[in-house]
């Protein structure tokens, strides 16, 4: 046995993952409060699928099962998928998404730590490309009871008139394409204080969880900061030039998956850049791409595409942003 002979007793992958799950709790609570308990069903479906898929693939790959299944990483992926998908998608879509994430995005590349792409975002992109209609049906705030949500998730019927509502990003997009002005669109019922009405509280829940992760040093501040600055500054520039055609940075950051992404997706250690400067570049890139996809692209939400595109760039970013080591920094005082 060689040095060091002591280890930090509380350092474990499991502890990191449990902290992330815990940090998702405020956002999930707000979700249940504002949208309904259907999300809990989706969380359960995604979790079960992810854990079973993880165990099966590990078995196929003849790898130790218990230690990896219990590390919590599959659960984090599962929860992020459930939260990224509309909470009334049918059960099989959630299952497919979890399967794609675990068996495909994670294990085809070699399992935890080896995957270049964020598994939850691969799953989201697969779902939105394959089932664009289902992926656009978001429940309207406060309109649907749990039984109806459960029926939509588990049953076959998709009687969704009056149940779904346009999300803030959707409503803004549609309005702008019809040449309405931003302030006129924002006057509609779909919008609240900052983003979509009600959804802003869920975003606030994610923000609270993110602050917890920052305080416990599970995540590096550079990643959420870079993302928020990237998206905020891009939105801000256009908003200052033409406020009637481009909504404000606050609208962008409070809408869609921005807060979830800033603190839980961009911050995935495996697939994000690792150097201090690299983290800023990586996260800012996602924010910028997401804004462009939202504003000019074919999909209302562009964060997932931003994440995957920046995932590809990680080796390049890391290689070119290696910080100088001890003794080779410029600011060494004499």
């Amino acid at each position: 046995m060689s040095s060091p002979h002591i280890r930090q007793s509380d350092a474990s992958v499991q502890r990191i993952m449990l902290h992330v799950l815990l940090a998702l709790a405020p956002g999930i609570a707000a979700y249940v409060w504002k949208v309904g308990a259907g999300i809990l069903v989706n969380l359960a479906i995604a979790s079960a699928t992810a854990l079973i898929a993880e165990a099966l693939v590990l078995r196929l790959r003849k790898r130790p099962i218990a230690i990896t299944v219990s590390d919590g990483s599959a659960l984090v992926t599962a929860w992020l998928i459930a939260l990224a998908l509309p909470s009334i998608v049918p059960w099989w879509l959630t299952m497919i998404a979890a399967l794609v994430a675990i068996a495909g995005a994670k294990h085809l590349y070699g399992g935890i730590g080896q995957n270049p792409f964020n598994p939850a975002m691969i799953a989201y992109c697969t779902a939105i490309v394959a089932y664009p209609a289902l992926m656009s049906q978001w429940p309207a705030i406060g309109n649907t009871d749990f039984a109806t949500q459960l029926q939509l998730i588990l049953g076959g019927s998709r009687e969704i008139d009056g149940i779904t509502g346009a999300t803030a990003l959707d409503a803004m997009r549609t309005g702008l394409r019809n040449h309405a002005e931003v302030h006129a669109i924002l006057a509609s019922n779909a919008f609240g204080l900052a983003g979509g009405r009600g959804w802003e509280w869920i975003a606030a829940g994610y923000l609270a969880g993110g602050v917890f992760l920052l305080a416990t040093r599970i995540i590096d501040w550079r990643l959420p900061f870079g993302f928020i600055v990237g998206m905020g500054v891009t939105a801000g520039i256009f908003w200052l030039i033409a406020p009637e055609r481009f909504p404000s940075p606050l609208f962008h950051l409070a809408s869609g998956g921005a807060m979830l992404a800033a603190f839980f997706i961009v911050t995935d250690p495996v697939t994000s850049a690792s150097t201090p400067r690299g983290k800023l570049i990586f996260a800012a890139g996602i924010g910028v791409i997401a804004w462009f996809v939202r504003t000019f692209g074919a999909y209302p939400e562009g964060i997932a595409f931003g994440v995957l595109l920046m995932n590809i760039c990680v080796p390049l970013i890391d290689r070119n942003t290696q910080p100088p080591v001890f003794g080779l920094r410029k600011e060494t005082p004499p």
Partner: protein, 512 residues
């Protein structure tokens, strides 16, 4: 005066476990039945034995002279009889054997006549020679010969005395400063004189208030405020030489340079103490203070004669049941002793009896998730996980480019790793592979050079032979040609001379 302290990046704060051994004063350890004194005690050279089996030796008598410029002398740690000079297992992770002088103490502990050397009147050269002849090497663990470090003695402005003692469990420097502060301060002043430094700064981690107080008092009582005693924040590895230089002066000495390049020299408090003993008291280095701690009945600090087998010391301190292995050095950078028969040497600062309860085995290794904990903990500013991936993939060139060789193997990365990856092991592996590859390449290029020069030599010899042959042929031909020409000429001469023989006194030269 030190106006401000600087920070080094990274570092960790493991549980210190100092209290176990720091409470009791330094006690002498009893002499063993046999002392095994290795000839190699410094990192830059060895000693040449000057005794033979059967010789009677006195305590402090030189038994091995410094060999070469980097060697340091060794001395009899006790009076007695030289039994043999043989190969014994050493305190090294490999457990390899090396030459040692075995002495049987006679129990009288008679000192050889000591000859102090007054630093105020002796020449610098004499003082340096005495340091070498007293066998003084760095006591912090690296055992770098002090006379080599002192070098020419110019261009140094600051002398740092390292009393940080940042490794958990170890308290030998703490006790030394508490109990022998005056000698440490005297030694430090001699080292300043020899290094040519203007000021002395002593760095002590702030978890040793008694040592700080004792050292401050020693400086004050000696009447001069010429030494700064500076408490530094307790954060491993603050006692690493380059980390301490950074904290106290702000200077970062890169891996490719040494402290002297920046006008700084750094000695351990134990070294300063030894210098004082050697010059002021004339006592060569024959013992050191060793912390014995961990799973033992009587943990503490012991004045141990060099050459004392670790097993003897452990027996004296009472190893408790449940001890699974013995560590030499601290838990962060020390190693498991392959054999407790290995002797205590000049670099042996700590012996820890490790039990699974005190040192639980690392949990099973999990894959790296690139969480970056290791990078935040690295005092060198490396990205250990990047080096880990490269080492695993055996991409050694890239690992070197990512500055693998700047790694000081302090163990901070492995300590914090949530995947419990033995990162330092990977780096040691990669370093040795790269060194081996370098050796191979060197050997291959030497072989190629040899081959090429042989081919060149053979070609040259062949060419020379051919040239000689050609020259000889040419000479012969020329000779023959000249012969023919001479014959013809002679014949012509003769023909010409025939009518007037009387006119010609000289006979024509006969060319044959």
């Amino acid at each position: 005066m030190i106006s401000r302290l600087f920070r080094f990046r990274g570092g960790i704060k493991p549980a210190s476990h100092k209290a176990e051994s720091s409470a009791a004063p330094i006690r002498p350890a009893p002499l063993p039945r046999r002392l095994v004194v290795p000839l190699i005690q410094g990192s830059r050279g060895s000693a040449r034995t000057i005794v033979t089996a059967g010789d009677k030796v006195l305590k402090g008598q030189c038994i091995g002279e410094a060999e070469g410029a980097g060697g340091t002398a060794i001395h009899a740690p006790a009076s007695g009889t030289v039994l043999e000079i043989g190969r014994y297992p050493m305190a090294h992770p490999s457990g390899l054997e090396s030459l040692a002088i075995v002495i049987e103490p006679d129990g009288e502990d008679r000192w050889i006549a000591t000859e102090p050397l007054d630093p105020a009147s002796a020449s610098r050269e004499d003082l340096i020679l005495r340091i070498q002849a007293s066998g003084i090497v760095g006591m912090g663990g690296a055992t770098f010969p002090s006379h080599v470090k002192l070098g020419k003695g110019d261009g140094i402005s600051t002398l740092l005395i390292n009393g940080a003692e940042c490794e958990p469990w170890i308290t030998c420097d703490d006790r030394l400063m508490r109990e022998r502060a005056v000698d440490v301060v005297t030694g430090a002043r001699i080292l300043r004189q020899l290094s040519g430094a203007r000021r002395i700064v002593v760095g002590i981690e702030d978890n040793k208030p008694e040592a700080i107080a004792a050292m401050t008092a020693a400086v004050r009582e000696s009447g001069a405020g010429d030494i700064d005693i500076v408490p530094v924040p307790t954060r491993y590895p603050a006692g690493g030489e380059k980390q301490l230089i950074r904290v106290l002066t702000g200077i970062e000495v890169p891996a490719s340079k040494i402290a002297s390049d920046f006008g700084v020299q750094c000695f351990n408090v134990g070294t300063a103490h030894a210098v004082c003993r050697a010059l002021v008291h004339g006592e060569a280095m024959i013992s050191r203070i060793v912390t014995v701690t961990g799973n033992v009945e009587r943990p503490g600090n012991y004045e141990v004669a060099l050459g004392t087998p670790v097993s003897h010391l452990l027996e004296f301190c009472g190893v408790k049941a449940g001890t699974s292995r013995i560590l030499m050095g601290g838990p962060m950078m020390g190693f498991t002793l392959p054999s407790t028969e290995a002797p205590v040497t000049k670099g042996s600062n700590c012996i820890i009896a490790a039990s699974p309860a005190l040192f639980p085995p690392a949990p099973p290794e999990q894959p790296c998730i690139r969480c970056g904990s290791c990078a935040s903990a690295c005092p060198v500013g490396l990205h250990p996980f990047e080096l880990y991936w490269l080492s695993r993939a055996k991409r050694f060139d890239d690992a070197s480019k990512y500055r693998l060789f700047d790694c000081i193997e302090c163990g901070c990365c492995a300590y914090v790793c949530p995947g419990h990856i033995p990162l330092v092991d990977y780096f040691r592996f990669a370093k040795s592979e790269i060194r081996a590859l370098g050796e191979e390449q060197k050997a291959a290029s030497q072989a190629r050079t040899r081959f090429e020069s042989r081919v060149a030599r053979l070609a040259r010899e062949k060419a020379e032979k051919a040239a000689r042959l050609a020259a000889k042929v040419a000479e012969t031909r020329a000779g023959l040609a000249a012969g023919d020409a001479a014959l013809i000429a002679a014949a012509a001469e003769r023909a010409k001379a025939q009518p007037a023989v009387a006119d010609n006194d000289t006979s024509p030269t006969d060319p044959t």
